[in-house]
């Protein structure tokens, strides 16, 4: 039945697209704003998942449990930023190495404190009719789009967003115009962490929660950030769309693993064609149009 096949493919795409967006967006905010690739991104996701699952186990309603996950991760990110990350601004590679150290510590501490498993959460909302999959995946997709919309609003319309973009474009100028760039970095890191926590919280019912839970998000997140380039929103949306399409198509034909490999190959080809990511390509395109007009 071609119709059902198409519907299944569409569902697959929506599922993967949502996953890439949610896995990436926290990392992308921090990378786009601060140029730091947070190697502990997976473990920030882990914090969100653990907070959610333990809150849920303590009979907090699921939405509130997830909110707990988001808030706790944001606070956690804020603390780390103040304690460690802020000493590393301007030292890009060092900051990556240090966040990796943090990642190692967090994985192992989680294992020591909570053991190798955590209480599970059943997938809410039941199964979809016709296509083979839970309703919850559609909810995730809606949330993913909502997050992108929210970020758009935050960056375009709020005072914070304007300052953030100014800092992103030219830190020195922003500072000379009275923007407290230190504070901007701090809030950005917290927002990015919170978004990572959101991914952890949202996927807590879907994936088995172990100390390595966060690692499961890394391939998609890193690839999408690299393909997307430095522009948080446009980059994330386009990269997720591109990678999601490739991944969903190949997964449909040849299975999950081949989907991942295809995504990596797509990423390498994409980077071969546009070394600065999609964002860089767009910037060139805009520049050439702007100049010809």
């Amino acid at each position: 039945m071609a119709g059902a096949g198409l519907l299944n493919f569409g569902f697959e795409f929506v599922e993967i697209f949502a996953f890439i967006v949610l896995a990436t967006v926290g990392l992308a905010v921090i990378f786009g704003m601060m140029g730091i690739i947070n190697l502990a991104h997976g473990e920030f996701i882990l914090v969100g998942a653990y907070a959610t699952t333990f809150a849920f186990a303590a009979s907090v309603p699921l939405p509130l449990a997830m909110l707990t996950g988001v808030v706790l991760t944001a606070v956690y990110g804020l603390v780390l930023e103040r304690l460690i990350i802020r000493h590393l601004y301007g030292r890009l590679l060092d900051s990556m190495v240090v966040t990796w150290g943090i990642s190692l510590v967090m994985i192992q501490l989680t294992r020591i404190v909570f053991g190798n498993t955590a209480p599970g959460i059943g997938i809410p909302f039941g199964q979809l009719p016709i296509v083979d999959g839970p309703v919850y995946y559609l909810v995730l997709a809606v949330v993913a789009v909502g997050v992108l919309g929210g970020l758009y609003a935050l960056f375009m319309w709020t005072d914070f967003g304007i300052r953030a973009r100014a800092t992103m474009q030219d830190e020195a100028t922003a500072r000379s115009m009275g923007v407290d760039t230190d504070r901007m970095y701090m809030s950005t890191f917290a927002v990015g962490s919170g978004l990572a926590g959101l991914a952890g919280a949202l996927y807590a019912p879907v994936m088995t929660i172990t100390p390595e839970y966060g690692t499961g998000f890394l391939i998609e997140a890193f690839v999408a950030v690299v393909v997307g380039g430095a522009s948080v929103l446009v980059g994330t949306v386009l990269a997720s769309g591109l990678l999601g399409t490739v991944n969903a198509t190949v997964t449909n034909v040849a299975g999950t693993f081949m989907g991942q490999v295809a995504m990596l190959i797509a990423a390498i080809v994409a980077i071969r064609l546009m070394p600065d990511g999609i964002t860089g390509l767009l910037a060139d395109w805009r520049e050439s149009r702007g100049e010809s007009q």
């Binding site: 520049e287 050439s288 149009r289 702007g290 100049e291 010809s292 007009q293």
Partner: protein
Amino acid sequence: MATSDPSVKTTPAVDETGADSSRILQTRGLRKEFGGLTATDDVDFAIEAGELRCLIGPNGAGKSTFLNLLTGQLDPTAGEIYYNGADITGLPSHERVGRGISMKFQVPSVYEGLTVAQNLRIPLQQVVEPDAFDARTREILERFDLLEQWGTVAGELSHGQQQRLEIGMAMAMEPKLMLLDEPVAGLSIEETADIAELLREIADDDGVALIVIEHDIDFVETIADRVTVLDGGSIFREGPIEEIKADPEVKRIYLGEDH
């Protein structure tokens, strides 16, 4: 790695198009467009060995673009570049350098983490045998008044010393053509005089052709054999400095756009 390629492309077509062998460098119809913007507009340019040419013009006149086309950091949209009678258009930067084109950047860009001697070693090993490194290093450092700084980390040198080191590094390549982008920007009066003397020497004694982008018109007057004025990507005037200074049209484009 030394890339002095013997298979220089000397096609007969070069001479038919009129490339003159007395000229170390010549461009024909050199053009560079970015999107819809023409940064370099059909430039026909030539310089002889031992000549010191200054390139002036208002901001956005296309001076840096022109230099970058010569070094190969940019590829032209159209036109050719002849060096020593051979067509070098499309050759990668490192091969042009191997043939004797040397570039000094606007901001002093020495290797700040390496010592002065190590800095010199990078260009030197491209052109001389290992057993001559120390002798050549000493020779160059003496000439550029940096012998005392042999083992000093380049990042700790003064601005003027860094400029001299960078010119020394460019000279270590034994170039026939040297391109300099604002070599005295940010230097003191004495340092500027030093550099002026050095550049003159390099042109007169070493017979190197120099193309110098410069804003400081007094400096241009001290050093230049001839001056080329660029405006809007094309050559606006060319001639001895006195002529250029007296030209009311040149004054107009400067006053109109830059000052």
